[in-house]
Symmetry: C2
Subunit: 599 residues, 2 copies
């Protein structure tokens, strides 16, 4: 496993130079303390923690995995101590509101620190990472007593939280869920049912675990409109905040998985456990939508994290490993052969990893800033930011994780046969990355959200909100050097609008047309969005190079990676476009029985 | 893990209807016994063995893996017994020459049986599968005494064989290998060195293991022109064929791998082991080229196998799992939701798996027939077949394994979060499939072989040999129904030639242009080759439907899958074309140090 080295130069470039974070946060009420210096200092501390504490536990955590017993779940050696240190250093409170002990730093900063921790050790990050949903839910929908009772300890990290949605018979389709909530005389509810895939459902890191459980009241309507939310703590909490008796819930088992083995994925049995209604009855799903964007951005980071980690591992190997001579003559004449980084195809793979890691970093940080603007901007600013978030979040979640998985697989490929062997660590990245396109809404679900709810559902308004941004940028950068990127980008932007219109027209006549186009449309959109960020980065790099401001090598690398992206990655849009224009018949005509005729 | 069901209907369609195997083999001297009836009967027996004996050991073999001790390697429970049964039923001898006890059946039939066995359990197939290289090497280059001594037992399966090529410092670049062969007074050689990644290098299935080892003679020239081949048996063989003393070689350890865990991947130490030169000194690599095509086709099957297995698993789940309603109205109104096979995107994934499984089956069987024509055809026939094999084999190896891996990942995706969980078996297919684009020459190596040695190296002659076949087919099928496929195919064929010419011109000025184009060119070629086979299958299906010959549902499914392939998969060529035309600068301009500027 490559030892993780935080890419601080690129993180600062995106935060400070590209997205001008200091200026933004100085303008947002409540975030004035988030100066560039402070944020830099926090990120440096986060980098040290990630490199020195979490990265060394990544391989051993995979090897060891989690262990279940009737007494609970034991996480891999070192995980609880690392979590203790994380809590002592105040990390859980970083971007939480100050009312309950949080430090009130921007979402962006929380996302950057999660990138650092998650790249070093994604399995470990799942424990504190999953608390976010519980915190956001209680903060947004809890009453004062509930906030008082749970938020302080969750924010400070002494307790962790989970989100208990999935059941064996339902994942994407939560309308099918069966867990019951029976009202009790004392105003609480008896929660009964089995939840699966509960990350951090049980572990040995914190004193208490606060489950947010989706369940049905006795008189609830069928489907998604009959789901309510409940707080169900592992240990009941007394009014003075101390822990009371054990609640009637158990981790029945943990899953054997392909990857992220250090993260406990629990089957949770609730046997009449005491729960507390949070938010209005039957409105549970709506309540959850309030923080869905930030949760999805949290998963999008995984794509970025794995692209970065696999790039670091691949690059070290490509410089070290000798095989064959460069086609254009020896580059290492004194050695037995040339390092494989001289070979064009190895460079193609490395640059693909680099283009995705750095491009998705810019994309995801930008989105996180939008979440901060939603929280703290003026009404008008917040509305615009919310619209951007609504459109771009499903793209970021699906596109960053799909391309992150591709990058991870290229890491194995660069190592050749050694990539398949555990000791090099590259295959673990593939196994860990594989989950990211599945949980928090599969790529297919994100694609339906994008084309159905966001693009067509808004009558195209959300899309034009973003394409106008792209158009203005292209107009403002039409000089010859910038046009290397903006002229193509401008065409893609028009084409994206045109394609969206065409799908919309077809979907009016036949709703399956939207579903048939969805994933190709999402990937098309993702490549165009990344082209926008690569154009912004390239043009900024050009201006820095022109100013000859110190060492320009970083900016030269940006420019060349942008050229690579436009030349070799962006053309994938052509395939997605033609595929989605081919219509739904080639998917829907086949009668189900004909998929495997054996006769 | 889905229980494997051999797709006999499709196998017979390709063998008998599409490729008219009986007529071919009746015309090839030595293969007259290979009637359709006999081949069918053999395939049915192979299917039973694969379904009933090998498939049940696939999941347990992954779970258990292999165990190393100083005494040797223990394979998973049931593996040795299955091998015993395989030998008793005569399977190892199926396509071996009759001179040493083989049954003399066509290569095609051996490939089909390997598909059956390998789809059921690829790890298990690695043990008998690896013998092929040893048999072919000894058969082609051994002297009579060597053939007599080793071939009979290898063919009958009492012994197995290996190919010992790779060393820690060299895989693709065998010129760097260091294992030494010192001549001894008795005419044998003392072999000293360490080989890695030796599949089936040690196991508990057979009495003896015959290693073919690549090593250097003391006076050998450096690089690939100084490599010789040696037979190095685990137990020395007396002149009467009985086993003598243990040779000085050991399995030092086995690798921990991402997948195919039931297959022992051995580090082999040769400590002055007794070896016997085979073939002329220093010509070892040339000798190995004689069977490289058939070995690569053997690996290409893995792509087909995993596409088929993942399709079977996905289809069962897609029919069973209920989630959400069809966008065009409920299809299962009495159920709580519709089965997910109603959703367009699930169908897109299933049809992708199906198009690759069935398309690559036709492609690989066709190639296997060409290998038989090389062996038994007239000189003119053999020359044409050999040219086709030379061109198409690197495409088949890389394209079938890349698309097989894609199909396996779609299998996980169709299962959603469950795909990540071991008990469903889908993640194992991904892990097992991952090796296929790495061993027996990575995708990058196949691509260099294709563009460099085959296409440009033949001055385009090998390519035009195949495109003329495609052109004649299109000309012969220009009627309206056929033109649905052949008009596009004809354009692609012209475009392929044109692209090849362009790369050739650029490579004359700058050899890195060939390397920069290589993988995109290979994938482009693969999609066009598969389009040819899908056109052939579709047009044949059309004629069967027109003849209304019995149940036409199989042919209707073929036709619809061909439409899917042309509509949704073939457009990927557009992306590969534009990427490769973008030239080498966007790969080569970046100075090595700039890949990760941290300053």
């Amino acid at each position: 496993m490559p030892a993780y080295k935080a890419p601080l130069r690129d993180i600062r470039f995106v935060m400070n130079e590209l997205l001008e974070s200091e200026a933004l946060y100085q303008s947002l009420p409540g975030y004035e303390e988030a100066t560039a210096d402070l944020m830099d200092a926090i990120i440096e501390e986060g980098a040290k923690f990630a490199e020195n504490v979490l990265s060394p536990l990544n391989e051993s955590g995979d090897e060891e995995g989690c262990t279940w017993s009737e007494q609970g779940v034991t996480t891999p050696a070192g995980f609880p101590e690392a979590y203790q240190q994380y809590v002592e250093n105040g990390w859980p409170a970083l971007s939480a509101g100050t009312e309950f002990g949080g430090q009130g730093m921007p979402n962006l900063l929380g996302i950057v620190v999660n990138e650092l921790a998650g790249t070093a050790n994604w399995s470990w990050l799942m424990y504190p990472g999953l608390s976010l949903g519980a915190v956001k839910t209680i903060d947004a929908h809890g009453d004062d007593a509930q906030k008082q009772k749970y938020l302080t300890r969750l924010v400070e990290g002494g307790w962790t939280g989970t989100m208990c949605l999935t059941e064996a018979q339902c994942g994407s389709d939560l309308g099918l869920l069966r867990t019951k909530a029976e009202p009790q005389a004392d105003g609480t509810y008896a929660i009964t049912g089995t939840k699966i895939f509960i990350s951090a459902g049980e572990h040995d890191m914190a004193e208490n675990i606060v489950h947010i459980v989706l369940a049905r009241l006795p008189d609830a309507p069928a489907g998604t409109k009959g789901i309510s939310l409940f707080i169900v703590p592992k240990f009941k909490v007394e009014d003075d905040g101390s822990l009371g008796e054990r609640n009637a819930l158990q981790c029945a088992s943990i899953e054997k998985k392909m990857g992220i083995k250090g993260s406990a994925t629990c089957v949770m049995n609730f046997d009449g456990a005491t729960g507390y209604l949070i938010g209005p009855p039957n409105r549970g799903l709506n309540c959850m939508f309030t923080f869905m964007n930030i949760a999805r951005i949290g998963t999008a980071i995984q794509g970025l994290a794995h692209a970065e980690l696999t790039l670091q591992g691949s690059l070290a190997y490509a410089r070290d490993r000798l095989a064959m001579r460069s086609l254009s003559g020896p580059k290492n004449p004194d050695g037995a052969a040339d390092p494989i980084i001289v070979h064009p195809d190895v460079r193609r793979m490395l640059l693909t990893q680099k283009a995705f890691a750095e491009g998705n970093r810019a994309f995801i940080y930008f989105l996180s800033q939008q979440a901060d603007i939603v929280d703290a901007g003026t009404e008008e600013q917040a509305k615009a930011a919310d619209d951007l978030l609504a459109l771009l979040t499903p793209i970021a979640k699906a596109f960053a994780t799909e391309t992150g998985y591709e990058a991870a697989n290229l890491g194995v490929q660069i190592y050749g046969g050694h990539g398949f062997i555990k000791e090099w660590g590259m295959e673990q990245i593939v196994r860990d990355a594989r989950i990211a396109t599945l949980y928090e809404g599969t790529t297919g679900i994100q694609a339906l959200d994008l084309i159905g709810r966001k693009v067509l559902g808004s009558g195209g308004k959300l899309l034009t909100g973003f394409t106008e941004l792209v158009g203005s940028f292209c107009d403002a950068h039409s000089d010859e050097a910038s046009a290397e990127f903006t002229s193509a980008l401008n065409c893609y932007k028009d084409d994206w609008l045109d394609l969206s219109m065409k799908i919309g027209e077809k979907a009016m006549a036949n709703p399956d047309e939207a579903g048939a186009a969805a994933v190709d449309y999402l990937m098309y959109s993702g490549y165009v969005v990344l082209a926008y960020f690569w154009a912004r980065m390239a043009i900024l790099a050009n201006s820095k190079i022109a100013a000859a401001d110190g060492d320009t090598s970083f900016y030269e690398a940006k420019l060349m990676t942008a050229r690579f992206y436009y030349g070799r990655i962006l053309p994938r849009t052509l395939a997605h476009k033609q595929a989605l224009l081919s219509g739904s018949d080639n998917l829907m005509d086949m009668p189900e029985a004909l998929f495997d005729v054996q006769g």
